[in-house]
Symmetry: C2
Subunit: 225 residues, 2 copies
DNA sequence: ACGCAAATTTCGGCTAGGCTAAAATCCATC
DNA sequence: GATGGATTTTAGCCTAGCCGAAATTTGCGT
C-alpha cells in the first residue's frame, strides 16, 4: 500500500500537518499548500489528488484536505527526522543555529530508521529541537504546547520564550546575535499602541529589545509565572 | 554549465571512476556501467550521451566513456562525501562496519559543502575510510595505493591487509566477526593449488583463516615487509 | 574476407513531479 | 437571486530517468 513515500510526498505531508496546526481544525486549502511549498496551485492540486488516492489525506474537491491517520504518521515521522537532525547538527557538529533548518530539510528524507535511533540515543532522546519545537517520540506522539505570538502581549506580561519559526534564517541570526534563545524567561516592559513593537527583556541580560512586525509574531511564548 | 548534478549523474560519475580504476587506462563500456548501477544497457547508453553533452565524459560511440577533468571532479567530490560519511558514521555514531556503506550511499548526495567541512574537521581530516579506501582531500586529490588481491599471493608472502570492497555486507560481516580489519599485517601460511584458498594469519591473533573465492579477490593487500 | 553473436544505440513508452493556460466552481456582494 | 472575482481543477505539455524491443555496429572465428 504505502510502500512509496517519496521526498515530495513527505514534503506535502509535512506542509499539510503544519498548516492544519495553524488554521486550527480546518481543512488545508490548495492555495496555502502551494504557497508553502513554492509550487503552482495546479501542481499542488494534482498532488493532493494523488495523496487522496493512496490514502494519506481526505480531499473534498474545492474545499481542502485533512490528513488521515496514515498521513499523520508520515508527517510526524518526517518531523521527527527533521527536528532530531536539527538538534544533532547544532549539538554535535556545531552547525550555526540559523543554518540547521536548511541542512535538516534535505537530510530528513534520507535518514534511515537505524540512524534515527542512533542519533536519538546519542542525544539522550531529546524532546525539543534548537528552536524550541517539540520532537515527536519514536512512537510518533507529539505534544504541541499552546503558545501565543509576542505581538499579542501587553505591558507587564511575563512568561517564557518557547520557540520561533525555523524557516527564516535572517530572524534566527538576528535573535542569535542578541543572545536571545528559546527557553529564556522574559518580561514585557513597554508596548507602542496600534500594533506597534513590544519592548522586552530576556533571561539574565538587562538589555531591552524592541520586537515588532513579523519578528514578534514569529516568536511564540508561554505566558504566566 | 555544470549547475545540474543530480544524484543519478553523481552515481554514474562515481561508477565510471571506479570502473576506470579497475580496467586500467581503458574506456568504460556501457555494459559494465549498466551492470554496476543495476540499470538496463539502454538506460546507461542514454545517460552516457547526456553526460557527454554536459561535458562530464568523453564518449566514443560503441567504444566507451572516459571521464573528463570536470567529470573526475564530480566523481571525486562524491567519493569524498561517501568515504567521509562512512568514517563518520562508524566512528561517531557506531554504525556497524557492514552497514556504513549503504547509509553513506544515500547521504553522499545531500551533503552540503559546509557539513562536509565540519565532518572532516571533527574527524581530524582522515585519509582513509573504515574499509581502508583513501579519502580524497578537500582539493580532490587522491592517492590510490597499488594493491593486489589475496588470491594472487603465495606461501610465505607477508604484507598488510589494506582494504576490502565496501559493497558486500556479507563479506564485511564475515571479516568483522573474525576480527580481521584493514591495517592488519598478515602472513600467508599455506595455499591450495589450482586457485585454491590461501591460509593466512592476521595481526596479533594466532588463528589461521582460510580465504578463497570471491573473498580472497576482494581483500586487497600491500605485499612486502 | 565474411558472417554471426555480442555489445551498443535507437525507438517508443512509462511514472513522478513540475509548469501554463483554460475551464469549472465557489462565494461575497449587490 | 444574479454576477464577478478568487480559488480550484482540468488539460496539455515538459524533463529526468527508467524500461523492453528493435535496429545497428563491432569484432571474432573461420
Amino acid at each position: 500500500m504505502t510502500l512509496e513515500v517519496s521526498p515530495a510526498i513527505q514534503d506535502y505531508a509535512k506542509a499539510i500537518y503544519s498548516l492544519e496546526l495553524r488554521c486550527d481544525g480546518g481543512a488545508v486549502t490548495t492555495n496555502a499548500l502551494a504557497e508553502r511549498l513554492g509550487v503552482s496551485a495546479a501542481s499542488a492540486s494534482s498532488m493532493v489528488k494523488r495523496l487522496d488516492g493512496i490514502g494519506l489525506v481526505e480531499h473534498v474537491p474545492y474545499k481542502g484536505v485533512v490528513l488521515t491517520d496514515r498521513g499523520m504518521k508520515v508527517a510526524l515521522e518526517v518531523l521527527r527526522h527533521h527536528r532530531l537532525l536539527e538538534r544533532y547538527l547544532a549539538e554535535e557538529l556545531g552547525v550555526p543555529w540559523d543554518r540547521v533548518h536548511d541542512e535538516a530539510e534535505v537530510l530528513e528524507h534520507v535518514l534511515s530508521d537505524e540512524l534515527e535511533d542512533l542519533i536519538a540515543a546519542k542525544l539522550g532522546h531529546p524532546t525539543i529541537d534548537p528552536h524550541g519545537d517539540p520532537i515527536p517520540t519514536a512512537e510518533l506522539e507529539i505534544v504541541e504546547r499552546a503558545t501565543v505570538g509576542m505581538d499579542r502581549l501587553e505591558i507587564g506580561d511575563i512568561g517564557r520564550f518557547v520557540r520561533v519559526s525555523d524557516s527564516d534564517p535572517e530572524m534566527l541570526r538576528y535573535l542569535s546575535a542578541r543572545g536571545i534563545a528559546p527557553g529564556d524567561d522574559f518580561e514585557v516592559l513597554d508596548k507602542q499602541p496600534f500594533g506597534g513593537p513590544v519592548f522586552a527583556r530576556f533571561g539574565e541580560c538587562p538589555d531591552v529589545h524592541p520586537l515588532g512586525g513579523r519578528l514578534a509574531a514569529a516568536m511564540r511564548v508561554e505566558v504566566g509565572a
